[in-house]
Symmetry: C2
Subunit: 313 residues, 2 copies
């Protein structure tokens, strides 16, 4: 099982030891709670949804509670989940006040004829299925608000999203692609993936990124692998990234590692797209490539200790 908490310009120079420990402990907690379910014989789907739920509840990450502010001062969240056995999937975009968008994606997968719901309609569906709603205050975070006010002032629509030259990186510690995700293989050989995001600080026009898009931000297929992406969503959409890892394995006969390398360090780089992904295959190989400065990430395998990383090695 592997998880991520976003990629981007994450530099050791901008991080205190205390903050680094906070991030690492948060990743460890989410990984271990998901992993616990796998060990109990629960499904990969249950495990990835649990890990993402915990990351959504943590204000450190841009998803759920920690979601950034849109241009109009709201929180609009996206999430998706897919399981590899029957290619079932659920996705949701542009929802507000839902405590855990990943749980909504799972309920859509399990209880709807549809795969992808959005906006107010998706909230009606959530209400019908008794998902937990939270008031705006739940999602309020002073740091996020300052980030938003600053972005508004400078009209930096894509603050979290722009590749910043290091020399210009004047102490803004949050230039990262805020997304969380998880992939897992369970004891029955089933693969699953889930992704959730609060989008871009100061985003406009109902922009939707790759996180809720099956094939772009999230994909799982028992024949090949499970993938969750994080990065500049527009490039991940145009490259159909998550599914492309699977297609390279299935049709191109590449290993998981080679397929991930091809997508993240060649295809995305050729499009000038920044970010990374986590992936696990049916033989429990794990890859966590990224072409940005860092990516919050962690993984665990049976009989081994969790490994948690932030920067390049």
């Amino acid at each position: 099982m592997a998880i991520h908490g976003g990629a981007g310009t994450i530099l050791k120079a901008n991080m205190t030891d205390e903050k680094e420990m906070l991030y690492k402990n948060s990743l460890r907690e989410a990984l271990e709670e998901g992993w616990e379910l796998i060990q109990q014989g629960k499904s990969a789907t249950d495990a990835v949804v649990k890990a993402v739920e915990i990351l959504e509840n943590n204000p450190l990450f841009n998803a759920g509670k920690g979601s950034v502010f849109t241009n109009s001062g709201k929180h609009e969240m996206d999430a998706s989940v897919m399981e590899g056995k029957y290619l079932n999937a659920g996705a949701v975009s542009s929802v507000s006040n839902i405590k855990n968008p990943v749980l909504l994606a799972k309920v859509i997968m399990d209880n709807s004829d549809f795969v992808y719901l959005s906006g107010k309609g998706a909230q009606e569906f959530a209400d019908k299925h008794k998902l937990v709603f939270e008031k705006d205050e739940y999602f309020f975070d002073q740091f996020r608000y300052d980030q938003y006010s600053n972005a508004l002032k400078n009209d930096k629509t894509m603050l979290d999203h722009t590749v910043i030259d290091e020399s210009e990186n004047d102490g803004d510690k949050e230039k990262k692609f805020g997304t969380v995700g998880a992939v897992a293989l369970d004891k029955d050989g089933n693969l699953a993936a889930a992704t959730s995001t609060g989008g871009l600080t100061n985003k406009k026009y109902g922009r939707v990124g790759d996180s809720p898009l099956i094939g772009s931000g999230t994909y799982a297929n028992n024949k090949t692998c499970a993938v969750s992406c994080t990065g500049e969503g527009e490039y991940f959409i145009r490259a159909v990234c998550a599914y492309d890892v699977s297609a390279l394995m299935e049709y191109g006969k590449l290993s998981l590692e080679d397929a991930c390398e091809e997508i993240v360090n060649r295809k995305l780089v050729s499009l000038k797209g920044e970010g990374g992904l986590i992936a696990i295959d049916k033989n429990c190989n794990i890859a966590m490539p990224f072409n940005s400065k860092g990516m919050y990430r962690a993984f665990i395998k049976s009989g081994q200790k969790p490994e948690i990383s932030i920067y390049r090695d």
Copy 2:
């Protein structure tokens, strides 16, 4: 160049000669107007957008003016466009009152840092870029309204979308997957694809299908092919259909025809998904496979006459 006006349970038994002629003439008009641009040396993108725009303006097809009613009696439309040279793309979902959603998708592709906009935010963007808006009355059609009232009465949420046993097909002539689309190859060797839809009659919960999703409903890549899909969107999303044709060609070394056959008549059938697609490759081969009873479709090649079909041959 090829176009489609949707697939589904389209039976000759339910069609009058007059109506058949109406559909065929409408397809011919859209194809010829798009083709005219190709002959003038314009881009494949211009041609597919023009053909889809004309189909959107025709009340016979479920897109633009002819869009069906949602559960709340509104029109919510989706569209996308992609060009194969640099993998540029634009997409829009859940917009109301936009005369031509495909033009909005094109403006997003050309003038936005984003790829995919949705809902009210997308409409703000459209307003800023002076897209044409129409009042609700423009989209009103008595036939569509009767279809909606009937669906509401019977709580048939997915009327247009359900696979109906022929014996139950009691004269309802509109059990089709309402989508329009176009694919083209231009004189410079560039490929493009565009898709547009008014969604499902009586749809709820802000459901989004495959039409606005790059990789699922629309894809174009000069290395391989351009694809536009029509059918039960949920299956096309889970199978990442449009991109899968391209991946089978690029990584699996299949011909366009074999790749389309694999997707439409094996992969989709194994998921029990109904529909079809149109595709063109860089060598101007054209495929228009479908696993439903019929698909409104037409194509033309240089120096040849247009060919227009509805049913299986």
